[in-house]
């Protein structure tokens, strides 16, 4: 991972997409989509509902399939081996993927060791709720739990679908700190959003409906 590959295209650091297109159902959601993100870069995906922001994030995660186009990470074709690509990606979908029957800490047990989980929960101000069953959480707290899973991720590419939905201002600030730390360590962030995000210097990609 992270090893540049010698080829026709000059190896470049970071994430590059070239001519991506995706079909959902029988509809072409977007096509000819290109962007380049250097390490530490951030890209905001904007556009009306149904313009394909979530579809693009799933394609970039390797969950969805791109009909045409290439995605490169540090010059390497990223989507040819999706299992390897998965280790580079941390994905925050619009669903929180929280199991109501498990406690807050247990919900994260698959993703990290107990000390790591404690730190991750503290970063998003959830440490106090760690022993509570997740079914007691409010919608915003569940979103924070999903963000804590993100904080556990060591992957360089963060794909966020409406990350601040239902968050209070304190948590948005905490997310801002997380994003800044991640970018400072060379990671990239792509976020689909309708709300202002704490991502200074982010470029914007507008998707048409």
């Amino acid at each position: 991972m992270g090893k540049g590959q010698e080829g026709m295209i000059v190896p470049q650091e970071g994430l590059q997409a070239e001519g991506l297109a995706a079909i959902r159902g029988e509809r072409l959601v977007f096509s000819g989509l290109s962007f380049a993100l250097p390490p530490g870069g951030a890209l905001l995906l904007e556009g009306p509902n149904g313009s394909g922001k979530s579809t693009l994030l799933r394609v970039l995660a390797g969950l969805g399939r791109a009909e045409v186009g290439t995605l490169r990470w540090n010059g390497e074709d990223a989507l040819s081996d999706r299992t390897t690509h998965a280790t580079r990606v941390a994905y925050l979908g619009h669903q929180d993927a929280v199991k109501p029957g498990l406690t807050v800490a247990e919900n994260l047990a698959f993703w990290g060791t107990p000390p790591e989980i404690e730190t991750a929960l503290a970063r998003i101000n959830l440490a106090r709720l760690a022993p509570l069953p997740a079914r007691m959480l409010s919608a915003g707290q569940k979103r924070r739990l999903a963000l804590a899973r993100l904080a556990l991720a060591t992957a360089p590419i963060w794909l966020l679908d409406e990350p601040t939905l239902g968050l209070d201002t304190t948590s948005v600030a905490a997310l801002g700190t997380m994003l800044a730390t991640h970018r400072a360590s060379g990671g990239v962030v792509l976020a689909a959003t309708h709300l202002p995000l704490p991502l200074p210097g982010a470029e914007t990609l507008r998707l048409a409906a």
Binding site: R58, G64, A90, G93, Q95, A97, K99, G101, L102, F110
Partner: protein, 218 residues
């Protein structure tokens, strides 16, 4: 992989009703036969292996539609697929969890059931030995089926239609092993064939289920 298994087992303990429902269904369905056919010991003893096997087959199906269904609904499946494990390993982990939480308890519940149905004592070991690869085979086939019907409307109805025909070979050899033991013949050939089925399903079913999971996420 070990963490996935730990997660599945913990989830199944917290939502323990799934496994319990399968076992209770197994026992209740088995108890219906003496009521319907009559309590004559010879009749029951003759059909006991068949009853145990059919009931185990049906009971093992019960938790299957939640095997991936719950994870697909709340978005956990995406995260599992992004965990860096190959999809086939996720499917194998799920199948193992299904066997530990459903197959193994069914195996234990088969003992009182067989005794209740007056199964000849000499046939009991063959029945249980057959159920070990048999339930494992069911978990594997069932996992593949559950992954295939993900995202389908009325997947819960489709699932038995898909899985039950594929489970027929296990049923035939499993019952034949117990029947052979009951009349003093060797059960070993049947058990070996059953184990061979299980050995073939062990690599094939997770691969099929993994591919199905990938396409369900798309």
């Amino acid at each position: 992989m070990r963490k996935l298994l730990a997660r599945e087992l913990r989830l199944s303990l917290r939502h323990g009703t799934d496994s319990l429902a399968a076992i209770l269904f197994f026992l209740v369905a088995g108890a219906l036969f003496p009521l319907a056919i009559g309590p004559a010991p010879e009749t029951l003893a003759r059909i006991a292996p068949g009853i145990v096997w059919v009931c185990a087959l049906l009971a093992a199906l019960l938790p299957l539609d939640r095997l991936f269904g719950a994870d697909a609904e709340d978005g956990s499946l995406d995260h599992l697929l992004l965990s860096g494990l190959p999809p086939a390993a996720i499917a194998l982990g799920k199948a193992t969890a299904h066997w530990l939480t459903t197959g193994l308890p069914l195996l234990l519940a088969a003992i009182p059931m067989a005794i209740m149905l007056r199964l000849p004592d000499e046939a009991l070991p063959a029945l249980l030995l057959g159920l070990i690869p048999g339930t494992a085979f069911l978990s594997l086939i069932g996992t593949a089926g559950a992954a295939l019907v993900l995202g389908a409307r009325r997947g819960g109805v489709l699932l038995p239609l898909l899985v039950l025909p594929m489970a027929v070979p296990a049923l035939i050899f499993g019952v034949a092993a117990a029947d052979a033991a009951a009349v003093g013949l060797a059960a070993r050939p049947h058990l070996l064939l059953l184990s061979a089925l299980c050995a073939a399903a062990l690599p094939l079913c997770p691969l099929a289920a993994g591919a199905a999971l990938r396409s369900a996420a798309e």
